[in-house]
């Protein structure tokens, strides 16, 4: 569904991503794990067009999307939930969700999707009139995910959804991610919490200083001695 080939990205003179190649198949959950600064977020930013990159080919659902501006990707079904939630703080929860459905034209369709989002996140329904900035961190993460779901994505790219959340909420967010995936949304997950990410993912890639150094089935990576030592801390 998503294919990244030979991606090279520079910050000024610094070569931040080296020859990144990976794929995400329809229906999978794929996770990118690695230390801070390994380039996980940069990869997502490059794919969604927020960061310019020097070389590389990105294909989504058979269409080349190399260097396409970010706003065009949403309509194609590629949606990015950025790190740090980035909800529109001064707009209400409902307005935030409306912004998520910005590219969809049909009102009925929107209403149906909204129902579904509220099923996943009943708390958003309770708070739909509240300004997003007044939500707690966990609720903001839910809103960010709900907002992304409003555009009916085919592929959801999630950046550090667990950051700053209580253990209970982390479990909840991952459970919902799995549910969303079961409903047919492919997921590309960037996570610091490698253990959690690998335990819900089908496959994983390990990044180190801008290079992919390992890939494999999530179960295998969980058992891999190097991965255990370097990223699972066991």
């Amino acid at each position: 569904m998503l294919k990244v080939e030979h991606l090279d990205l520079y910050y000024g003179a610094i070569h931040a991503l080296h020859d990144i190649c990976f794929e995400v198949e329809q229906g999978e959950i794929v996770t990118l794990i690695g230390a801070n600064g390994a380039g996980k977020t940069s990869i997502l930013h490059a794919i969604s067009g927020l960061l310019p990159y020097r070389n590389g080919l990105v294909t989504f659902a058979g269409c080349p999307i190399t260097k396409m501006p970010p706003h065009k990707l949403v309509g194609m079904g590629l949606v990015h939930v950025p790190e740090g939630r980035r909800v529109f703080a001064r707009m209400s929860v409902m307005e935030n969700l409306d912004m998520g459905a910005f590219t969809s034209r049909s009102k009925e369709d929107q209403a149906r999707t909204l129902e579904k989002v509220f099923e996943h996140f009943p708390r958003l329904k309770e708070r739909r009139r509240q300004a997003a900035g007044t939500l707690s961190g966990g609720e903001q993460q839910m809103l960010a995910m709900g907002r992304a779901l409003m555009s009916k994505p085919k592929l959801l790219m999630m950046d550090e959804p667990s950051m700053g959340l209580s253990p209970l909420l982390v479990q909840e967010i991952f459970a919902i991610t799995r549910e969303i995936n079961r409903e047919g949304v492919t997921v590309l997950l960037v996570e610091q919490n490698a253990h959690m990410a690998l335990s819900i993912a089908n496959r994983g890639y390990v990044l180190e200083t801008g290079r992919i150094i390992k890939e494999g089935a999530a179960g295998d990576l969980l058992r891999d001695e190097d991965v255990k030592k370097a990223y699972l801390g066991t």
Partner: protein, 292 residues
């Protein structure tokens, strides 16, 4: 009493013009956080456009009004694309200086083309004044107040209910997140400048009717005053711009009438300072305390 009422009406008239310009200021500031010093000069561009089209090309007034708006919009959008867009990721003060540069450039080109000698504004309105008892309110005054109020309401509805309006608010909060929602940020910003400059275009018509003399620095002072009005009401807030504009207009005209015409600027700035000290984000502004 009559004098007081007359001054009040005068103040509302001037204030409505300030408000109209302030609306444009506030929209542009709200979305790109830029004090667009060139905004006032769009007023001047609009006024000279009317001069050229009517006194030189003798076009009909209605057509001229439409063309004035188009030219203002064109200038605004062009200025944004050429001078401000490349600096979007630079320190904000760089775009501020660029805005000052653009303002100087527009004024000096006008100086070069039209010379400093003021030209008469070619459009006038000759309708009977509105009579209420002994009080007579000029038709231009009525028109100005009505037009500004109507535009403010339309604008407020536009921003809070339409798709494009919501896109503007989203962009003003977070560029990247807005893009990830599928919003075309560049077009949204251009649209904002277009609307702001169209308002300035309308402002130039009303200003010209009120003060029918066109010079290259025509926009500078009303521009600055309008900006202060926007800050006074709470910058980025549409009703705030209106409120700020009216307060400025009233303060100015009442000071001129009852205290001293030289001190009117000082009073206006004094009001601004007092308001900001007690309400740092303007009269209608919401407090934004940095979250720790």
């Amino acid at each position: 009493m009559l004098l007081f009422l007359n001054q009040l009406i005068n103040g509302l008239h001037v204030g409505a013009i300030y408000a109209l310009i302030a609306l444009g200021y506030t929209m542009v500031y709200g979305i790109v956080r830029l004090i667009n010093f060139a905004h006032g000069d769009i007023l001047m561009v609009g006024a000279y456009t009317a001069v050229v089209l009517i006194t030189m090309l003798h076009l009909p007034v209605l057509l001229v009004i439409i063309l004035v708006l188009l030219v203002c919009v064109l200038f605004g959008v062009l200025i944004e694309r050429v001078a401000y867009k490349p600096l979007r990721n630079s320190p904000r003060i760089s775009s501020l200086i660029t805005a000052i540069g653009v303002s100087m450039l527009l004024q000096n080109i006008a100086l070069l083309v039209f010379t400093p000698t003021p030209k008469p504004y070619p459009i006038s309105l000759s309708l009977p004044a509105l009579q209420i008892g002994t009080l007579s309110i000029g038709s231009i005054t009525v028109l100005t107040i009505l037009v500004s109020a109507a535009l403010m309401i339309v604008l407020q509805l536009f921003v809070s209910t339409t798709r494009a309006g919501k896109a503007m608010r989203a962009v003003s909060e977070d560029f990247d997140a807005a893009q990830l929602m599928g919003i075309n940020v560049n077009n949204t910003i251009s649209l904002t400048f277009a609307i702001g400059c169209a308002l300035a275009g309308i402002g130039s018509l009303l200003y010209g009717l009120a003060y029918p003399s066109v010079s290259p620095t025509l926009g500078a002072l009303p521009g600055l005053k309008a900006f202060i009005a926007a800050v006074l009401g709470g910058i980025g807030i549409i009703p705030g711009a209106m409120l700020g504009g009216l307060i400025m207009g009233l303060a100015e005209s009442l000071t001129k009438a009852y205290i001293s015409s030289q001190l009117s600027d000082a009073v206006v700035y004094g009001i601004l300072i007092v308001v900001l000290l007690f309400k740092p984000s303007g009269l209608l502004g919401r407090g934004t305390r940095e979250k720790v």
